[in-house]
């Protein structure tokens, strides 16, 4: 049995997403032992991997215990986007479970759950929809077969329902728990039959999320809530100037603060970016903060104190005259532009922004006597943590345990593990459990930030008002230069021009390009990545072109969409739900924008009112998201509502600037986020009419916000905004 099992385990194929083969995880002859269980107190999400538990491990993703208790593992960390419900639901639907019949546990980068334990790129549902359903369907088929064997009836007379197998002719039923032993002896079906979508009980329905009761009662465990006996607290002073180096420090005053235990150096590593900070270790966090306040550190700024964002912006403007590296090149742009009767050019600018999730970066780590390591944190990337940390710190992967908590927001920030490296570094030095928490100021000032993109656009209109020639040149530093040591700058960085060449608009002559800029400030993916800025320039310029052509902006776009496309459907839906053709009263205006990019496709119409004091108020946002298939419509609505709020924040609130090498902003007073009194009503429409491609949910609601808003402002006021952020209170 043992050998047999090892063999079966070897059959496991993790194709990057989920087990395409299944495994019976019984690891000894008399009982099925799995390696995870919940912490019994409260509703902790943290795994307690040392507690064995009896049960049938049908695939790594599902445990059915003899008691009937069922656990489904979620490999996509919950960061607010709803994967705690949507991902297990894919399995549960096929396994015929109701939401209240299973417990969800978050995985911690364990090898058996594959290399893609991560939430990012709006990928979770769109890339796992069928694979995870197959996991559930295989388990269901095994339980059906087990029941038919136990009852000695044909399997075809049995069906599964609500965690039971029912024998149709006799009406007798048996719970899954009672089938565990028989099912464990069966082969895993290779091609299980998936349910007909019309028989779905959970998928496609606005099922209530299982994490919400935990989140309205203070019981949800976030990384910052980790509680390890005898842990100490850490706050780290980082070099305020990016690229600076630690010279020395004087800890005398710090050591006099009651509760402070030690002052130690610690490394922060983000891709190729590396810096040394000074950590104050104390019995409680307040003491660590007080000790940090009186710490005297001398830095060598290495000339980086000369960096200012305004000078940098000017350098990007200057670089706009460079030809750049060609991305898309369709037809003959130069010729068509030359022949156009109306030529327009425009330059757009966007700022750096911080992710600012409500839960600032934090991590708790415990480096034990026996050189094993335990980590508790909020991360979007358990797999990356387990790939990186053991190697970096010279440990075997099996000696590292990661507990993935609920994340108090991610938005891309928690795809980086710099703060985890810091905490583990501290734990290694201290040899005791340490909870390291960044202050809000640290979180705002230290990056990595969303890069600024500048866009130089040209468009040529024909006599008939058709867009004949189009050019979008992006000038920007690249995120990749932080993730890889030697970026090949003879090739376009696709991530920095994402979407611009792939819009569905039928434009006969188009030439897009990218101009590389350098920077030493760490930058990273921010919700919807470069589309969050490129959509602004791209879709505002489309508006400028429409007006130059003397056409309605919606009609102008639709005229460039003669073929059937998702984009066309999105715009048509927007036209309908926003009553686009019904004129608005004077002083009001509406704007439209859409954007298709790696994560998916969304579009919006925004209505604004011009007020007498030169300010503008956002009245309403109509949002359409194109999905193909939807798992939880209410979650999708929530994600789009949230993306709009985040998009409006990025459009109208000041982002991040730098002076003398330092981040100027520090907390929510000077880098504000939208508040409830500023939050516009959002009406969300979901297009999910089937189709082969499933699109993402978390990000596509964001890119259209800024351009739809700027276009609406133009419609209401005649003022064309080409630089984010814009000040709605004073349009000047």
């Amino acid at each position: 049995m043992e050998n047999n099992l090892v063999n079966r385990r070897n059959f496991l194929k993790y194709t990057g997403l989920s087990g395409t083969a299944l495994v019976l995880g019984i690891s000894n002859s008399n009982a099925a032992v799995v390696t995870a269980d919940t912490v019994e107190t409260g509703h902790a999400l943290f795994l307690q991997p040392t507690q064995p538990n009896l049960g049938l491990n049908l695939t790594p993703y599902v445990i059915i215990e003899k008691t009937g208790k069922i656990t489904i593992f979620n490999t996509k960390p919950e960061i607010g986007q709803g994967t705690y419900q949507s991902i297990p639901a894919l399995i549960a639907e096929e396994l015929e479970l109701l939401p209240e019949q299973y417990t969800v546990l978050q995985t911690g980068g364990e090898t058996k759950f594959g290399p893609m334990q991560m939430s990012g790129g709006s990928m979770s549902v769109r890339l796992n929809y069928n694979e995870l359903r197959k996991v559930g369907a295989s388990a269901r088929e095994m339980l059906l077969l087990a029941a038919s064997q136990q009852w000695n009836v044909p399997a075809s007379e049995c069906y599964a329902e609500k965690a039971k197998v029912v024998h149709k002719p006799s009406g007798k039923s048996i719970g899954y728990g009672d089938l565990v032993e028989t099912a464990a002896k069966l082969e895993v079906p290779k091609n299980p039959t998936l349910k007909d979508t019309k028989d779905f009980n959970i998928l496609g329905k606005s099922v209530k999320r299982q994490d919400i009761p935990l989140k309205v009662s203070g019981q949800a465990v976030f990384g910052i809530d980790a509680d390890v006996p005898n842990m100490v607290y850490a706050s780290i002073e980082h070099c305020p100037v990016f690229g600076g180096k630690l010279t020395n420090y004087d800890k005398t005053a710090t050591m006099n603060v009651a509760g402070v235990e030690q002052v130690v150096e610690v490394e922060r590593v983000f891709g190729v970016y590396q810096s040394t900070g000074v950590a104050v270790i104390a019995k409680n966090y307040w003491a660590a903060l007080k000790g940090r306040k009186v710490l005297k550190v001398v830095w060598d700024y290495q000339g980086n104190e000369k960096f200012n964002s305004e000078t940098y912006a000017q350098s990007l403007r200057d670089m706009a005259k460079n030809e750049g590296i060609i991305d898309a090149n369709v037809g003959d742009f130069d010729k068509a532009f030359g022949e156009s009767v109306k030529k327009i050019e425009a330059f757009y600018e966007t700022p750096f922004v911080a992710h600012s999730p409500m839960e600032a970066m934090n991590c708790t780590a415990h480096w034990k006597e026996n050189n094993t390591l335990e980590i508790w944190t909020s991360t979007q990337v358990p797999s990356d943590v387990m790939r990186d940390i053991p190697t970096r710190f010279g440990l075997k992967p099996e000696d590292v345990t990661l507990h993935t908590a609920f994340s108090g927001g991610g938005f891309g920030r928690r795809l980086a593990i710099d703060f985890i490296v810091e905490a583990v570094g501290l734990a290694k030095t201290l040899k005791k459990p340490v909870k390291m928490i960044w202050t809000r100021e640290d979180d705002t000032q230290l990056g990595p930030f969303r890069p600024p993109t500048f866009s130089a656009l040209k468009g040529g209109i024909s006599e008939e008002g058709k867009l004949m020639a189009f050019q979008h040149k992006v000038i920007s530093p690249t995120i990749m230069s932080f993730l890889m040591p030697n970026v090949d700058k003879t090739k376009v960085d696709e991530t920095m021009v994402e979407g611009i060449s792939h819009q569905a608009y039928e434009i006969p002559n188009m030439r897009n390009s990218f101009v590389y800029a350098d920077i030493h400030i760490p930058m990273f993916w921010w919700r919807s990545v470069t589309s969050s800025t490129l959509a602004f320039s791209h879709e505002c310029f489309m508006d400028e072109l429409a007006h130059a052509a003397g056409k309605d902006p919606m009609a102008f776009r639709l005229e460039m969409l003669t073929k059937d496309s998702d984009t066309k459907r999105v715009l048509q839906k927007l036209k309908e739900v926003s009553n686009w053709d019904k004129p608005l009263p004077k002083g009001k205006g509406r704007g439209v924008a859409q954007y298709e990019f790696f994560a998916g496709l969304g579009g919006q119409v925004i209505e604004v009112t011009k007020l007498s004091d030169n300010s503008v108020k956002i009245d309403k946002v109509y949002a359409v998201i194109d999905l193909g298939t939807v798992v939880n419509p209410d979650t999708v609505k929530a994600q789009v509502e949230g993306a709009v709020v985040m998009g409006v924040t990025a459009a109208i609130k000041n982002g991040i600037t730098f002076a003398n090498g330092k981040t100027v902003q520090s907390n929510f007073h000077d880098t504000p986020v939208l508040r409830i009194n500023e939050s516009p009503p959002v009406e969300v429409h979901i297009l999910a009419n089937g189709g082969s491609k499933i699109k993402g949910v978390g990000e596509p609601g964001l890119p259209p916000v800024a351009p739809a808003l700027a276009n609406a402002i133009f419609a209401a006021t005649g003022i064309r905004l080409r630089k984010m952020p814009f000040d709605l209170d004073n349009l000047g």
Partner: protein, 156 residues
């Protein structure tokens, strides 16, 4: 270091802390109640909102030395035993939380609002709740849920 006696959720606790220690860290790390969250430490975000004698306060701005042994402190863990406060139920019905990190603070503010204004208008809600940031953008649902809770409470 000084000795303090506090009443949190009708439980007496004794702590030894620096007089300027914010109530936030006392609640979280001395009393072990993790539902109250750290967001900004500057009174700007409301994630740390608790009640002091029924009124919403920012615990990150409340030094322990300012509290009396008789002051009644209520945290998210103290508003119901079975997640059945009308505001919590409304929050579940409207599926308000996304990441959930701000929501303890949002709920504590909403409970306090409904106490002083049982039938708030949208404007009342906007004014009162403007101190609570939600980076996930759950504001519309918060507004709706407060109305739902208000209606439920009126029925009683």
């Amino acid at each position: 270091m000084k000795e303090y006696t506090l009443n949190i959720n009708n439980k007496k606790i004794q702590v030894e802390a620096d007089p300027d220690t914010p109530l936030l860290w006392v609640i979280r790390d001395y009393a072990g109640l993790k539902g109250t969250k750290f967001g900004c430490g500057m009174g700007l975000c409301g994630a740390c909102t608790v009640h002091l004698n029924g009124q919403a306060i920012r615990s990150c701005q409340t030094p322990i030395s300012s509290l009396k042994a008789t002051s009644k402190i209520t945290t998210i863990e103290g508003i119901s035993t079975n997640i059945d406060h009308d505001v919590q139920k409304a929050w579940i019905q409207e599926q308000v939380p996304q990441c959930g990190y701000c929501q303890s603070g949002q709920i504590m503010s909403a409970v306090a609002l409904l106490k002083i204004n049982p039938k708030p208008t949208d404007e009342d809600i906007d004014t009162y709740m403007a101190g609570n940031i939600c980076r996930c953008g759950t504001y519309e649902r918060i507004r709706k849920a407060i109305h739902v809770a208000s209606n439920e409470m009126k029925k009683k």
